[in-house]
Symmetry: C4
Subunit: 323 residues, 4 copies
Amino acid sequence: MTGTASHVRHRVYQTLENPSRTDRASWAIEIGLILLIFASVTAVALETVPDLFARYRVEFRRFDLFVTLAFSVEYVARVWAAPEARPDEPAWQARLRYMRSPMAVIDLVAILPFYLTLLMPLDFQLLRVLRLLRIYKLTRYSPALSVLMAVIREEAATLLAAFSILTILLIFAAAGAYMVEHEAQPDAFGSVPAAMWWSMVTLTTVGYGDVTPITPLGRVFGGAITILGVGMAALPAGIIASGLADHLHRRRDLLREEFRCALEDGQIDLGEGRKIEKLRRDLGISREIAHSIHQDVRRKQVQRSQCTCPQCGYEFQHIGDEE
Amino acid sequence: MTGTASHVRHRVYQTLENPSRTDRASWAIEIGLILLIFASVTAVALETVPDLFARYRVEFRRFDLFVTLAFSVEYVARVWAAPEARPDEPAWQARLRYMRSPMAVIDLVAILPFYLTLLMPLDFQLLRVLRLLRIYKLTRYSPALSVLMAVIREEAATLLAAFSILTILLIFAAAGAYMVEHEAQPDAFGSVPAAMWWSMVTLTTVGYGDVTPITPLGRVFGGAITILGVGMAALPAGIIASGLADHLHRRRDLLREEFRCALEDGQIDLGEGRKIEKLRRDLGISREIAHSIHQDVRRKQVQRSQCTCPQCGYEFQHIGDEE
Amino acid sequence: MTGTASHVRHRVYQTLENPSRTDRASWAIEIGLILLIFASVTAVALETVPDLFARYRVEFRRFDLFVTLAFSVEYVARVWAAPEARPDEPAWQARLRYMRSPMAVIDLVAILPFYLTLLMPLDFQLLRVLRLLRIYKLTRYSPALSVLMAVIREEAATLLAAFSILTILLIFAAAGAYMVEHEAQPDAFGSVPAAMWWSMVTLTTVGYGDVTPITPLGRVFGGAITILGVGMAALPAGIIASGLADHLHRRRDLLREEFRCALEDGQIDLGEGRKIEKLRRDLGISREIAHSIHQDVRRKQVQRSQCTCPQCGYEFQHIGDEE
Amino acid sequence: MTGTASHVRHRVYQTLENPSRTDRASWAIEIGLILLIFASVTAVALETVPDLFARYRVEFRRFDLFVTLAFSVEYVARVWAAPEARPDEPAWQARLRYMRSPMAVIDLVAILPFYLTLLMPLDFQLLRVLRLLRIYKLTRYSPALSVLMAVIREEAATLLAAFSILTILLIFAAAGAYMVEHEAQPDAFGSVPAAMWWSMVTLTTVGYGDVTPITPLGRVFGGAITILGVGMAALPAGIIASGLADHLHRRRDLLREEFRCALEDGQIDLGEGRKIEKLRRDLGISREIAHSIHQDVRRKQVQRSQCTCPQCGYEFQHIGDEE
């Protein structure tokens, strides 16, 4: 590869994958791509309004073409620049590795529907929905979103268990309502599956009110189910709260560890500072929290040095202040 | 007992009670049983749809027969293989102990309704509901579900207290709404018990809307109750969140303790590793969390060895970093 | 006071205020009082049903008389036995102190309405509601309820702040809905106070559906308010979760401290055990949690003794394992 | 500046910015201002009721004039007294700094609309809403409110991420409901934007019930969305719970640190006590929590002194008990 190409590839990589606040161009491209994602999803939604589609059929088509081209260029550029992330691997291997990453797969899914319609006539309705998946491209730009996604993934087993408790309650609520109400309201509570609509709407505390028990016994039973519904809604809230607290705790411990290593010699030099700043942004920890962790580590370092025995002068290395 | 029978019993025990990922047969049986539970519960629900029941009466009957037989075989096999878990007890005693365990009772309840109908003519409606209890057989297969069940059991007293606060508020909301609205709406708010339907639907934030206050004073009072409802819904969420965090903390401490003992000599050998892995799965802790606990314990062990005083050489065993 | 009277008073005190599981009589009286509270509140609610009141007027009156007498006897007995709690004070002073305690005030409020009606003709409607306050007598029997009440009291300032945020949002939602919808629906959104009914029902996610925005702009605005409503509902849940976790943590620290003191000499003797058991029940901590605290303290005590230097034999008292 | 003016300015500053419980005048002014804020906002809301506005037009106008004058005097007094907070800065600089603070900006916004209408004829409707912003003046008087505001600000990124997950789900729910229901209900589900009203009302668990799916497939899909709605509502609750716990933890650590410094010499003298009390109120920590922190720090100080080695007599300063 020539030097110029190499330089351009490095520039493309820095712009797309490692944007900094000081670099105007990369910042503009990032904002542009985010706006394009929103505009594209809005357009897909508006296409479904019959009046608008009839009037602006050509404009919708053109805008979709433009968006697909822009995202295609973005995808190709990212794949081409991928070797910059792993200079010690052969270029094709680094690119293949990048193409298998979740973000790259999402990028591909965002443009693939268009190219598939060129190759063969497909069901237009389904492709429309697939284009809505473009909104997932946003996850790249929000560390907080990736924190939430990580928590949901980590707590998936517990959330699934909460969901299975909900399922059990749903079936029993439906069976009970069926037994109590199916004579008074044969339409809404005529069978257990029919009664499940009511039990779902009630246990989730949505409460449309299109179907409600009307017999006295049905209302007593229904009241008990509404109360269970409050308990059910509490389960995922509790799981997310406990999981998020635990996850953030672990993330902050990683940063704390980094501060501790950096402060071993009593101060943070420029290289250490930059490394910590990068870690902070990758972990999605706010500047304020990072500062309070820094203060905390520094305070404990001081206490550690107080521990040194003044009599013999030996380095009495005692670290007893970890949380 | 002959050697062959003993060998078969051991194989049955391993397959049903201690399935491992590497053993194809036990894995297939586990999946098969889980699918059978779902299919059976779905069938019981569909039986209540009048049209379906009229058309497929025979098929429903046959499928129920098949499911009952399969679960009966499973139950008998589990009881028969129970002595494997406690080799030092007489076989009949181990079996009796197993039959009294919660899981075995659930298994029995899942098949008993069928045999009871053979012995005597019973109310069919109620037995149908009892067959829905089969879904509880699922708890055997999900450690996360047993975590949630344990938390709900541990926090039962506090949840009951939240429920009693809710009861107090329900009564006052109903009494207040009765006083304010019973003249304008004698049907819906004609007595305190009648007004409780509205107060239950409102305090749980379900809000069907079939009964709402219509007088100005009733709306001011109703608005205050909706706000209390938000507070009420917060209580169980807070209890579950706090209880779950505490419970998981204690579970992780057990695993942490195991890691600490195993790492006393600086490394985890094969036997220790297998023991930790079993504990991890029993506690329902994810591989990722276990890894982070391992890292944490290792880091603190290193700090402990730094504590050794270089002057006298004595093993200055100080563990000051426990959380 | 004669010896017999003194003995009787001690027995009454033990039965009413300090019931133990082993004492049958005190247990029966406790259960009886709890049932009486429930029966009394149910009767007050049923009295409001016109049909029932017309038919059973005399029975309601008689039952209320009986309940009031029973609670009066209970109140007098408790006041009479109060000096047992503080043997070093004059009897009248101990009784006065008891009568000013929150539980005694609630007990008085539960019987006072009846005696007030004997003295003067009062508004019957209001007295009916006052009798419902009897349900507060239940708080005496549930430590978990007193935990929840303490948390709500401790977090009162923060809950009030959440409530004031809700108020601010309510006013803005009502003002916005008024501006957008008052032309299309002059009845429901004709003024800011009128629009507050909709904004209250929406921001608390109750959602009756009796009043909803119908203009496109109103629906966009209404949708934004429903999303804010989810956030609003999150505030009290978060406050309760965080407050409860903190409160339980502090309660457990008190028990932990008690265990630590008791285990100073390496074992818990009978007196220490009884003291800990009493504290555990007063704090409303479950047996299981107490056991895990005990294990934890014991484990750390062992580590402390490892800390003792074997060279010089001095008591190197280092406690470095507190959380 | 003369001595008298200086004295008056100091008095004004103490009264408005640093009110203490012992100073009657400052306490009365604080209560008066709070009541005026509430009265003013209530008046603005009542003005929108057509009947009331027609009848009391003059009174509303006069009251608004009075409120604006009172708040103007308050604003001018605060700006004039601002240099008291920073005696080492030139007076104009201190005033400019104060005028740029968030509280001062809110105060200005509360009075500005009135003066703008004097200068030029403006849209009355919008100014009415701007006057409702006066309620934000309340934040000055509630440390708990500022805690909540700080938590919401700190967790803004995560809350925004939860909001973007909600947006993604909203779009998919609307697209799915559009595909399933647009033939059965062309009015309510005729396009993706139209279906968003239903998906917003459902995912937030508000559930008006004005639009509900009616086809069997639509109800299955709708049921799945209600369950997702429960999960969605859990996200902000979890974020607030975890963020609030973390924030309060950090606030309490600041107070703990203050206690620790004050207790270095074994006791808290008058000056230290006043400083701690001020910090406690600024941080919005309740007296009860502060007391338990005090106890905790004291207990650990005692343990530290136990650490002193009795052999050599050196001050073996070891602090190993921090949480």
